[in-house]
């Protein structure tokens, strides 16, 4: 089996999960996955086999951008730092079930960066390559996403937080 086919087989579930996060539907994710595989098998892969995994995710994402048009929601939405005041998040609320529910309430760009870093296990540099952004952007985007996730777990609302920040400033 060739390196690309092997990487596709090994990351099939995770690629589908990423496609599912991006597209928001199972059918679209399945189509996205097939398009990704077709594209990956039709072009020359990276010379270094260790880069093939991130390359597959980048292909999938680019196809999604080209064919399904990404949501206009900005990836930079949300606070960059916790709200002023004391650290108010209750760690006891952080559990598998609450995280799962909160995940679904996140904006797609936040779900995407968490999918890549937390679930797919990419390093910042690899995620930057997939997203075609600088590493610094990955850092800030991830920190926003985690803050939004905490807000969602607390039952808060990212938009409301952002509105409050704008009103305060």
């Amino acid at each position: 089996m060739q390196a690309v086919e092997r990487a596709l087989c090994q990351n099939w579930e995770r690629l589908f999960s990423y496609a599912r996060r991006l597209s928001g539907s199972r059918d679209a994710a399945a189509d996205l996955l097939q398009s990704c595989a077709l594209k990956a098998l039709s072009v020359a892969p990276p010379a270094e086999e260790t880069r093939i995994r991130a390359w597959l995710f980048a292909i999938l994402r680019n196809i999604w951008i080209d064919e399904y048009r990404r949501s206009q929601v900005s990836a930079e939405l949300g606070p960059n730092e916790p709200d002023d005041g004391r650290w108010r998040y209750d760690n006891r609320l952080i559990a598998e079930i609450t995280v799962r529910q909160a995940f679904d309430r996140l904006e797609p760009p936040h779900r995407e960066i968490l999918e890549l870093i937390e679930l797919a296990g990419f390093r910042y540099a690899e995620a930057a390559e997939i997203l075609d952004v600088p590493v610094g952007t990955v850092m800030s985007r991830l920190s926003r996403a985690r803050l939004s996730l905490l807000e969602a777990i607390e039952g808060g609302n990212v938009r409301a937080l952002a509105t409050r920040r704008r009103q305060a400033s």
Partner: protein, 260 residues
């Protein structure tokens, strides 16, 4: 007082993800000792990471089926290289078509000898004096000393150089062909083995012509003796040494007749 950027939310995220350099990570760790707020954030981040990472894909992926892929398209450089190869091949083919392909040496001689061998019966000798282009042959060699009688003569003009095959027949019907053609500088001056295509061949070049002696299944000592005799005669030596005559007689009597 810790540096504010060291314990920023973004920096703490990178810290728990292990993305900081050892030096910066050490600074953050040192700052956490004095900054309870930052330490609480790190605790929350650690718990959050652990909770997120246990999440498994909720929907089962479709079966792993690779799509059928058409052959990978050639890159532009590869296509150019392929086109260049095709052009070169085309030019080579055209060039070959415009030039006569060189035949292997002695091909005309072998063809003429084969043609003679294919004729079923011995024909009456048709003696003729042939003036070959560029050569003053005079009379064809008399090979009586080798018990060979001239019985066939064929002029071959199919080749570029032209040539003549003089066919000699022995007492037992053995056929030996003597091919005479313009001087070929590639041949040695003394009879040399040039066996090919199942024929025993000795070839050499004289001063005015090239010669090839051909026989099928003929004893090598006999054809060597005949070749030496022809070389002497065509070289203008009319007196044949007694030892050569004796060798010819021995070869003729001691070995079975040739196939041809």
């Amino acid at each position: 007082m810790p540096e504010p950027d060291i314990t920023s939310w973004t920096m703490l995220n990178a810290y728990v993800d292990g993305e900081l350099t050892p030096e910066v990570a050490a600074k953050v760790a040192a700052a956490l000792v004095a900054d309870r707020e930052a330490a609480a954030q790190v605790a929350t981040l650690t718990r959050l990471r652990a909770a997120v990472r246990v999440e498994e894909p909720r929907e089962q992926a479709p079966p792993f089926v690779l799509p059928r892929v058409r052959p990978r398209p050639l890159r532009r450089s590869a296509m150019a290289a392929a086109a260049l190869v095709l052009v070169c091949i085309g030019a080579l083919v055209i060039g070959l078509m415009n030039t006569q392909s060189p035949k292997p040496p002695l091909s005309d001689a072998i063809a003429a000898h084969r043609l003679w061998l294919s004729q079923p019966t011995q024909q009456q000798a048709q003696r003729a004096d042939v003036a070959l282009a560029g050569a003053d042959l005079g009379n064809l060699p008399d090979l009586t000393l080798a018990s060979l009688t001239l019985s066939h003569l064929a002029l071959d003009l199919s080749g570029r150089a032209g040539g003549i095959l003089a066919g000699y027949v022995g007492p037992n019907g053995c056929r030996v062909g003597l091919w005479i053609a313009p001087v070929d500088d590639a041949l040695p001056t003394q009879p040399t083995i040039r066996d090919r295509d199942g024929l025993t061949i000795r070839a050499w070049r004289g001063r005015k012509a090239s010669y090839a002696l051909l026989g099928e299944g003929i004893d090598t000592a006999r054809i060597d003796g005949i070749a030496a005799l022809v070389a002497r005669i065509t070289g203008g030596e009319h007196s044949i040494p007694n030892d050569q005559v004796a060798a010819l007689a021995e070869a003729r009597s001691g070995r079975p007749a040739c196939i041809g």
